[in-house]
């Protein structure tokens, strides 16, 4: 799943523009991740600051 490091995020919206699923939305200074995020990691790649990371689900 996609993890947002909120203290790193510059809330610029770069990630929102490349999301093929339309799963991200920038609400003022808050990046919202929708349920339709597939964890593809495109957003994490383009982030100018490294504020996004796709982490594997921890097996229960």
């Amino acid at each position: 799943m996609l993890h947002v490091f909120r203290d790193v995020c510059g809330y610029c919206g770069c990630c929102v523009s490349v999301c093929p699923e339309g799963a991200l939305e920038l609400i003022d200074a808050y990046l919202e991740v929708g349920d339709n995020c597939t964890g593809c990691g495109i957003c994490a790649k383009v982030c100018p600051l490294g504020a996004l990371e796709v982490k594997d689900e921890v097996p229960v």
Binding site: C12, G13, C14, V16, S17, V18, L26, V46, C47, G50
Partner: protein, 398 residues
């Protein structure tokens, strides 16, 4: 805010502000909504604009101009450089704006012309009837409101959502997003009348690094790289920090700016039933320079003008609003985007060796007008062998 307007504009940047002002001036009822609590902040821009581009929309006002430019320099990977001067001695070639003040000024003017303005107000969904856009659902401080409109102009920027909710795919290809970081630095040694661009795969892969003056000892120092080249340990910010550490080790950073610039081709279609898309949301940034302010104002104005005639005709369907889409594509701006996209595709594949050869081929160029078109034309003229494969593009530069 009323529950119904002729035109609803989503986004309070230059595209939205000019759209709202233009529609209000023509006598329409207009509301502009901006999701942020303040117009113009945070800045996500290097703030450069040509003299004539600004003049088309407003007189230059010292309140929103940080610096007046007299030329530009380009630095090759090996350090050789090229200076561009305007042939008209003493003439201003452009400005570095203060976008916080500029954007606010444009919205102020729209408001004075009669447009309603709502800040901290976010569109969360379109109102759709049989697939046609009829307004938007808005969120304001926990309140939900429905605002109907004959025409919605989506000017919601690089992070645009509204057109997507209406079924229009606005996804920017990874290789065509410029991921950017910029510091507003002060106490640095710069030429306050010169923009400087650094190119090369070490300094800014498939992009460039810029120093845009903001005063005698202040500048926007930033870098944009292709999303394709970005990743852990080599992000825009890493490139910027490396440059700043070597070039301006004692400079002070007083603002931290990040952003994405779409350098893809524009959306395949920027009009739908009841909807037009303008500015960065329409992906009408100049793909070669990354400049978007003029194109945003141009499309914002044209969208509003199209809304005025559509509303007076009583029909705001896609076939009527397509006049907007055709209008900007056929304009000088539209043709420049089309041409510069091809130039960009050429330059992103260029090796450092070629950049070195090209830039060292000429130390000073005096152009009638400083533009990418004139620059590339001169470079082709002086480097017929290096740029031989650009020859067919050269034809379109005449």
């Amino acid at each position: 805010m009323k529950s119904r307007y002729d035109v609803l504009v989503i986004g309070g940047g230059p595209a939205g502000a000019i759209a709202a002002g233009t529609a209000a001036k023509a006598g329409l009822s207009v509301c502009l909504v901006e999701k942020r609590p303040a117009i113009g902040a945070p800045v996500r821009c290097a703030e450069g604009l040509g003299t004539e581009a600004l003049a088309e929309f407003t007189a230059p006002d010292p309140c929103f101009i940080s610096a007046e430019l007299r030329g530009a320099g380009i630095v090759a990977p090996d350090g050789s450089s090229l200076q561009l001067n305007s042939q008209m001695a003493g003439s201003k070639v452009g400005y570095i704006l203060d976008r916080k003040v500029f954007d606010r000024e444009l919205v102020w003017r729209a408001a004075e012309t009669g447009a309603d303005v709502a800040v901290k107000t976010r569109a969360s969904a379109p109102i759709l009837e049989n697939g046609a856009v009829k307004g938007a659902v808005l969120q304001y401080c926990g309140q939900t409101m429905r605002v109907e409109a004959d025409v919605v102009i989506a000017a919601d920027g690089v992070e645009s959502k509204f057109p997507r909710w209406c079924g229009i795919d606005t996804t920017v290809p990874v290789r065509e997003i410029m991921t950017c970081a910029q510091y507003l630095m002060t106490d640095i040694d710069i030429d306050p009348t010169l923009t400087v661009f650094y190119v090369g795969n070490e300094i800014a892969p498939q992009g460039y690094l810029w120093i845009f003056p903001k005063g005698d000892r202040s500048a926007n120092v930033g870098v944009g790289i292709s999303g394709l080249k970005s990743g852990s340990g080599h992000r825009a910010r890493d490139y910027l920090d490396r440059f700043v550490a070597s070039k301006f080790p004692n400079g002070k950073t007083i603002e931290y700016i990040v952003g994405g610039v779409p350098v893809c081709q524009p959306l395949a279609c920027t009009a739908a039933d009841g909807l037009m898309i303008a500015g960065d949301a329409a992906r009408v940034v100049d793909p070669l320079t990354g400049g978007g302010i003029y194109n945003a104002m141009f499309t914002g104005r044209l969208a509003a003008q199209t809304a005025v005639s559509a509303i007076s005709s009583g029909k705001c369907t896609k076939d009527v609003l397509m006049a907007y889409d055709r209008g900007w594509r056929e304009s000088h701006m539209g043709k420049t985007i089309a041409r510069n996209w091809h130039l960009k595709e050429y330059f992103v594949k260029m090796t450092d060796e070629k950049f070195n050869a090209l830039i060292s081929s000429v130390s000073t160029l005096n152009l009638e007008e400083i533009s990418t078109k004139n620059l590339v034309r001169e470079l082709i003229r002086k480097n017929p062998l290096v740029l031989g494969d650009l020859a067919k593009l050269a034809l379109s530069l005449r």
